[in-house]
Symmetry: C2
Subunit: 206 residues, 2 copies
């Protein structure tokens, strides 16, 4: 069984890249399917599950230390419960024994013993803004400044969750096998290149 | 003309990877040749040129600011002179108009207008220690702790020089097209995969 995991900066196109790579290689693809499975098992609203897991679930509390104000981050109980359920769903996917691409959710760390090929996807700020603009629903009327703040908040939550769960640094090159910058690529061509790269990786491990 | 630039963490094997990619693609390869050219033009000792450019040339001075001690970094004059000469040598290489791989020296930023394909090479600490041990000369008797300190110092100098010259962050995924972690790869197989990836990049730009 070959597993590819895709971690990504918000707005970098990691999800599209992962889908295209799965299509090229004929792998199964898991993304929002994971959220649906958790919602179904727990009886919770899928939007609540997604929002809590992906973007929020952290709260900062101010504390005084040595006469200076600092802030301490806490993860709320809903998020912890959902992370446990998410881990089980991801282990269940792996137990199917089929080649797959899994988007986000620290699947690379959860499935470490199965040696997934782990990819991190980034892009520079301007490319991410352009991408978000192109995909925005009609009702999203954020300014560039608000959009950048949203990106940073989501990436910060992802980083915190990863570091809490895995002890490895989110977005740091040493935490992944391959890191690609989508900024100057046509996504179709990039997916083809990543697919070949991943295949060559799996060949050396076969 | 196709240019591949390779930036790397000390001990990651970036140099070997770059050489192998150049051999596979039939590209010219520039590394210590750049140091030799500077030494020849300036009449300086090649070891002095290499040490000043690669590893040192920065000095920290303590300053008091708001009642707290900080340190400010200065680049010495020899290093600034040599960086100017290095830039000219790298521009001279590009002026030859031949496909090439250039190791380090911020060639990606210097040759930005020629759209090089830029790679960053990293590896985790243990892999880098093992690599340095395997390549160490008989007279190198550093402990692991000393070796890690040496790695960090060299990487810090590289980071500072890059940020000073280019304003882009050394080792950050957004600063390069592709970032590879050599840790779990056989270097020959990785070079083959990187060569294919780079070729696919150049095809989209042709």
């Amino acid at each position: 069984m070959r597993i590819i995991t895709v971690s990504r900066e918000f707005g970098s196109g990691g999800r599209e890249l992962g889908k295209r790579v799965a299509d090229i290689l004929g792998f199964d693809y898991y993304d929002s399917e994971i959220i649906s499975a958790i919602a179904q098992k727990s009886g919770l609203d899928p939007n609540f599950v997604e929002t809590t897991l992906d973007n929020h679930g952290w709260q900062d509390f101010p504390v005084s230390f040595g006469g200076t104000m600092h802030s301490v981050a806490y993860m709320n109980a809903s998020k912890i419960d959902l992370l446990v359920q998410q881990k089980k769903v991801i282990e269940g996917i792996a137990a199917l024994g089929k080649d797959c691409v899994i988007i986000g959710r620290n699947a690379d760390a959860i499935l470490k013993d199965l040696h997934p090929f782990s990819i991190f996807v980034c892009a520079d700020r301007e490319a991410k803004i352009a991408r978000c603009r192109a995909r925005a629903r009609e009702d999203e009327k954020l300014t560039d400044r608000e959009l950048v703040r949203k990106m940073k908040e989501i990436d910060k939550a992802r980083a915190r969750t990863r570091e809490f769960l895995t002890g490895s640094e989110w977005g740091h090159c040493q935490s992944y096998h391959l890191t690609v910058n989508t900024g100057e690529w046509d996504m179709k061509a990039l997916a083809a290149a990543v697919a070949v790269f991943a295949q060559m990786w799996f060949e050396t491990k076969a």
